[in-house]
């Protein structure tokens, strides 16, 4: 009897311990990964702005080839807040996405013909796209590079299966088609706290402004 009681006691303690570990994992995901990712994103943004500060108008827009895990542009979405500013990092590995939004390396660069495509977390790890669902068709999205402000206008929002890689093709969902337009695509998980679908936004380039000529109107400038 005593041995049985002791066994039940130990099993109970193990179960309570397992419960505490699961709760700690939740805290890790919801709090810790965001703290770490925000810090990493700040480092990326500061490095990029320091790099841009040393730049003369004759310097290239990007330091090609882009280095995996390093930011090369900044993303601003006024709909998500006046201070919303996220570094765009080359690559879409979990390490890359924990420092900002990630650029699919095989896709176009900002302003180029084709489909400049980025992915971002919608929950945990900085969650830059947590409220991306609030962005509407017609909203402006701004991409700042070393030399230029690009303004993209959201044209389409929809949900796909995770395997639908066609959304980041040069002409979305048209394999083999020759791109003529300058597009941008954002992908994130859907629903927010799960990931069995992807939320997709397409946008088209509507304006580009050399940085020497001020800021775009949509960002408080007179561009």
């Amino acid at each position: 009897m005593n041995a049985a009681r002791r066994t039940v006691g130990v099993v109970g303690e193990l179960l309570i311990t397992a419960g505490v570990v699961v709760l700690l994992f939740v805290a890790y995901q919801l709090v810790w990964t965001n703290i770490q990712a925000d810090r990493a994103a700040n480092v990326q943004t500061n490095n990029l702005e320091r790099n841009w500060g040393d730049r003369t108008p004759d310097d290239p827009e990007f330091d090609l080839p882009l280095k995996r895990g390093e930011a090369f542009a900044l993303l601003r979405i006024p709909r998500l807040g006046d201070n919303y500013r996220v570094p765009i990092v080359e690559g879409v590995s979990l390490d890359d996405l924990a420092q900002g939004v990630g650029h699919y390396p095989e896709t176009a660069l900002p302003g180029q013909i084709g489909n400049f495509s980025v992915a971002g977390h919608r929950a945990t790890n900085g969650e830059p796209f947590a409220y991306l669902d609030q962005v509407n068709v017609g909203d402006d999205v701004f991409v700042e590079t070393g030399t230029t402000w690009y303004t993209y206008e959201v044209t389409k929002e929809y949900i796909v299966e995770p395997t639908q890689v066609g959304v980041i093709l040069p002409v979305p969902n048209e394999p083999g088609a020759v791109p003529r337009r300058r597009l941008m695509t954002m992908t994130t998980c859907n629903p927010r706290w799960d990931s069995y679908q992807r939320l997709i936004f397409h946008a088209k380039l509507v304006d580009e402004l050399p940085k020497g000529e001020g800021r775009p109107v949509g960002l408080g400038g007179d561009g």
Partner: protein, 63 residues
């Protein structure tokens, strides 16, 4: 289990409480710094990219 641990901690009660708290902090640190970062990519919550292998990932049992 914890009773056994408690009875094997040295010193008076105050000392045992301090040691027990240090042990707890050490365990949490190991979880946050090594265990959870290892587990995270094996769970499906953080997938945000479109990828041909995503279906295979979704079907993979949770590690």
């Amino acid at each position: 289990m914890y009773g056994w641990l408690w009875s094997h901690l040295p010193g008076p009660t105050v000392m045992r409480v301090i040691i027990a708290m240090l042990l707890f902090v050490a365990v949490v640190a190991v979880l946050f710094l090594w265990v959870f970062p290892w587990v995270e990519p094996r769970l499906p919550f953080t997938d945000v990219t479109v990828d041909e292998s995503a279906a295979a990932l979704a079907l993979r049992p949770l590690a």
